[in-house]
Symmetry: C2
Subunit: 147 residues, 2 copies
């Protein structure tokens, strides 16, 4: 799993310069769960806490990376995009931005089954930022198989 | 107005390094309207279009900058934060990320009146990204007067 994690992080860093600018790192990755982090300093705002846009972006790149990883593990090749998102900021993030995203096995299986049958599929993911959490992100992701 | 625009952009660049990394620029600013842009290249994603997180972040920094500008124009000094956001991605952004945010005069006046009376106030802002638009962002912003 460590190899998949390293490959995926490298792919994200190489294809998305903002991930590097934010200091995006995949800390843990398994087939239903991911933890990613980004340090405060490159993501700091005018209040000395984490910028709302960075919190959102690191959150997006947790769910996106997890679902992308699952698609690859199935031997599939698909475009995966964000279609819709809702975020609530509950308290300021004073240090590292740490995002936690977990999917249910049934939910993931339905997503993959639909992708194989219809060539398109949709999944919703919840990302918690911080322990309390400090922010909650709900994302809709769309996948479509490449030809 | 051009001086206010330059000062505000400089303040954002200096206090939020990610705004510089994204190439954030204020293109137009008046008391009810702002246009901001960021070039594609530093914000590109794995598909060769603009990263969902960059679209969101540049959008946040349009509404935030406009409302912050209005607060300053009233001679007030307040902390301004994002409390909640909903974004819909309608079509890929193939070039410059261009965000347009306009507030109604009544809405802005109510926001300022409440801030003066209660020391706290809330405003909702809609940001259109691109002409069609390619994405729509609805933001809730909270202001609280500094002591």
């Amino acid at each position: 799993m460590k190899a998949a994690q390293t490959t995926l992080q490298k792919k994200i860093h190489q294809s998305m310069p903002l991930s590097l600018a934010m200091g995006y790192q995949i800390v843990e990755l398994d087939d239903l769960h991911i933890i990613v982090e980004a340090p405060l300093q490159p993501n700091i705002n005018i209040h000395g806490t984490a910028f709302a846009g960075s919190i959102y972006s690191v959150g997006v790149l947790s769910a996106w990376a997890l679902v992308y990883h699952v698609i690859l593990k199935q031997g599939l090749d698909a475009d995966l995009v964000i279609s819709r998102a809702v975020i609530e900021y509950l308290s300021p993030v004073h240090g590292t931005i740490r995002c936690n995203c977990r999917l249910e096995i049934d939910q993931m299986q339905r997503f993959i089954d639909e992708l194989v049958v219809s060539r398109r599929s949709r999944i919703e993911a919840v990302v918690n930022i911080g322990e309390r959490p400090d922010a909650e992100l709900l994302l809709g992701l769309h996948a479509s198989l490449k030809k």
